[in-house]
C-alpha cells in the first residue's frame, strides 16, 4: 500500500509540464486548423482511395523495373561518392589529426550541410545540372557529409593518440599514419555508417526522383499526375520492395560487422 502511494508521487512532478504540453498542442492544432473531425474524414477518404487504387496495374510492372533500377543506382553512386567526400571531411574534422582552426571550420561546414534538407540541395543543383540523375547523385553525395562526416570524425577522435604518436616516432608522416593507423581502425564503423546511409539514400532517391532526379519517384509522380492510380500503386509496391530489400540487406551486413567487431 505504502509503496503504491509513493509510486504515484513521482508523477506529481510531471503534472505541470504535461498540462503545458497539452495547452501548446491544442494551440498549435488551432493555428494549423487540425481537428479530429478532419482526421476521421481524411482517414475514411484515404481508405476508400486506397481501395479505389486496387488492383495494381501489373502490365506496368515490367516497364517500371528500369526506373526502379535507376533509383537504386542513383542511391548507390550518391553513397559511394558521398562516402569518399565524407572521409575527407572527417579526417579534417578530427581533433587528433587536424589543426584546431581547420577542425572548427570543417565541423561548421558539416553541421551547416546537415541543416539543409537534401531536397533543397537538389533544387539548387537542378538549376546548375538540369533535371535528371546527375543532380540527384550529387545531391545525395553532399547529403552524406552531414551524417557520415560527423559520425566518422567522432570515431577518428576516439583513436588512441599515443598509437599515432608511436607511429610518428618511427618517422611516419601524416598520410602514412592515416593509411596504416587510422583507416584500419575506423573501417568497421565506416562500412556500417555507409550501409546505413545507403538505406536512407534509397528512400531519398525516390523522393528526389519525384522532384526531378528521375527514377521510380518520377514514375510515381507521373502516374499520379495522369490520375492513373492503378499504375501508381504498382510504383508504390516496387518502392516498398526496394526499401524493404535494401534495409534487410544492410541490416544483415551491419550485424555481421558488429559480431565480427566483437571478435576484433
Amino acid at each position: 500500500m505504502g509503496t503504491k502511494k509513493y509510486s504515484f508521487k513521482r508523477y506529481r512532478k510531471l503534472l505541470l509540464p504535461l498540462i503545458l504540453l497539452l495547452a501548446v498542442t491544442e494551440g498549435a492544432a488551432i493555428v494549423c486548423g487540425a481537428t479530429f473531425e478532419k482526421l476521421l474524414q481524411g482517414l475514411s477518404k484515404g481508405l476508400s482511395f486506397l481501395l479505389y487504387m486496387f488492383p495494381p496495374d501489373w502490365s506496368a510492372f515490367a516497364e517500371m523495373l528500369q526506373p526502379a533500377v535507376e533509383s537504386i543506382l542513383i542511391a548507390f553512386l550518391g553513397t559511394v561518392f558521398g562516402a569518399i567526400l565524407s572521409i575527407i571531411f572527417a579526417l579534417f574534422a578530427a581533433s587528433n589529426l587536424s589543426n584546431k582552426y581547420v577542425r572548427s571550420i570543417v565541423r561548421f561546414l558539416i553541421g551547416f550541410e546537415r541543416s539543409i534538407p537534401e531536397i533543397v540541395i537538389l533544387l539548387l543543383l537542378i538549376a546548375a545540372f538540369g533535371l535528371g540523375a546527375m543532380a540527384g547523385i550529387i545531391a545525395l553525395s553532399i547529403g552524406c557529409i552531414g551524417m557520415i562526416g560527423k559520425l566518422l570524425g567522432d570515431t577518428i577522435e576516439e583513436i588512441d593518440v599515443i598509437m599515432m604518436e608511436s607511429m610518428e616516432s618511427v618517422g611516419a608522416n601524416k598520410l602514412q599514419i592515416i593509411a596504416f593507423g587510422v583507416m584500419p581502425q575506423i573501417m568497421p564503423s565506416l562500412i556500417s555508417y555507409v550501409l546505413f546511409r545507403f538505406e536512407i539514400n534509397i528512400r531519398l532517391s525516390v523522393i528526389l526522383g519525384a522532384v526531378g532526379a528521375g527514377g521510380i519517384g518520377y514514375e510515381l509522380e507521373y502516374a499520379f499526375g495522369l490520375l492513373e492510380y492503378h499504375r501508381a500503386l504498382t510504383a508504390i509496391l516496387i518502392i516498398m520492395i526496394m526499401v524493404f530489400g535494401t534495409e534487410r540487406l544492410s541490416l544483415m551486413l551491419r550485424n555481421k560487422i558488429k559480431t565480427e567487431g566483437v571478435l576484433k
Partner: protein
C-alpha cells in the same frame, strides 16, 4: 651513442621539471632510469626521441657512421629522418589493433620507405620476410597473421619489440615497458630487450628496482628533475629508500590515515 647535456624544462609558473640532466649512454649499455613519479623520468625519455623539446640543453644521437644529430636543434623534416632509427616501446603497447602482428612490425619502417610506395603498394616480400624474422626473434612468429587486438599484453609488447628490431635502430627507448605485465611476462620482456643493447644504447624508464638490478648494466636515478644517482644497477636498500623516500613515506602516512578493508 646518445649524449644528453644539461637538459632543462620548466612550467610557465617557474617550477623546474628538468634541472640540468646530463648523461651519456654508449652501445653495450642497458640503462634503467628510476625515480619517484613526477621526478622527470618520462620527460627525459621524451626528449631522447624529440617528442618533447627541452627549454635548453642538447640531445646528441650518434649513428654507426659517426654522424651526430642534435635532436633539439634539427628541423621537423630531419627529426623525422633521425626518428626512423629510434625504436620506442611504450607501456600501453599502442599498436594498431586491427592490423596483424606482422603488419604492425612493418609499420616500424614506414618512415624509411617512399610515401607513395607505402600508400599504393605496401611492403615488399623481402620486407615481410625480414619482419617475420623479427617476430621469430621475440618467439611469436606463429602469431604473425593474428590481429594484434586479440593478443595478450605480453604478446603485444613482443610485437612492439619486434617492430623496434625491424627498424634496425641506432637507439632503443622503452617507457615503462613492463609496468602492465605480470612478473613472468615482465622477465621475458626484459630478457628480450637486454641482448639488443649489445649493438645499440638502450634506455628505459622502470618502476621495478629488482628487475633493473638483474638486467640493466647501469642505473640513473632522477629526483626533482636532477640526477640523484648514476652507477651500479645493484642498489642498496638505503639508496632505494633515499630515491623513493618521500613517496614511500607519503604512502605509509596514508595507510595510517585511511583504514583499508578488502571487499569481495
Amino acid at each position: 651513442m646518445i649524449e644528453v647535456k644539461n637538459l632543462t624544462k620548466s612550467l610557465p609558473n617557474g617550477r623546474k621539471l628538468l634541472d640540468g640532466i646530463s648523461f651519456t649512454v654508449k652501445k653495450g649499455e642497458f640503462v634503467g632510469i628510476l625515480g619517484p613519479s613526477g621526478a622527470g623520468k618520462t620527460l627525459t625519455l621524451r626528449c631522447l626521441n624529440g617528442l618533447l623539446k627541452p627549454d635548453s640543453g642538447e640531445v646528441i644521437l650518434e649513428d654507426e657512421k659517426g654522424l651526430k644529430h642534435d635532436l633539439c636543434k634539427i628541423n621537423k623534416r630531419e627529426l623525422r629522418r633521425v626518428r626512423q632509427r629510434i625504436g620506442v616501446i611504450f607501456q600501453g603497447y599502442h599498436l594498431v589493433k586491427r592490423l596483424s602482428a606482422l603488419e604492425n612490425v612493418m609499420i616500424g619502417r614506414l618512415g624509411q620507405i617512399n610515401t607513395f610506395r607505402s600508400l599504393f603498394y605496401g611492403f615488399t616480400d623481402e620486407e615481410a620476410v625480414e619482419a617475420l624474422k623479427a617476430l621469430e626473434q621475440v618467439k611469436i612468429a606463429n602469431m604473425a597473421e593474428m590481429k594484434t587486438g586479440t593478443l595478450s599484453g605480453g604478446e603485444m609488447q613482443r610485437v612492439a619489440i619486434a617492430r623496434a628490431i625491424f627498424q634496425s635502430p641506432a637507439l632503443l627507448i622503452a617507457d615503462e615497458p613492463i609496468s602492465n605485465l605480470d612478473p613472468s611476462n615482465a622477465k621475458i620482456i626484459m630478457k628480450m630487450i637486454k641482448p639488443l643493447s649489445a649493438n645499440i644504447p638502450v634506455v628505459g624508464v622502470f618502476h621495478q628496482p629488482e628487475m633493473t638490478a638483474k638486467y640493466c648494466t647501469r642505473i640513473i636515478a632522477i629526483k626533482d628533475g636532477k640526477i640523484f644517482y648514476d652507477g651500479d644497477p645493484k642498489l642498496s636498500n638505503n639508496m632505494l629508500a633515499e630515491i623513493y623516500g618521500e613517496e614511500l613515506s607519503q604512502i605509509e602516512q596514508q595507510e595510517h590515515a585511511i583504514p583499508m578493508v578488502a571487499v569481495n
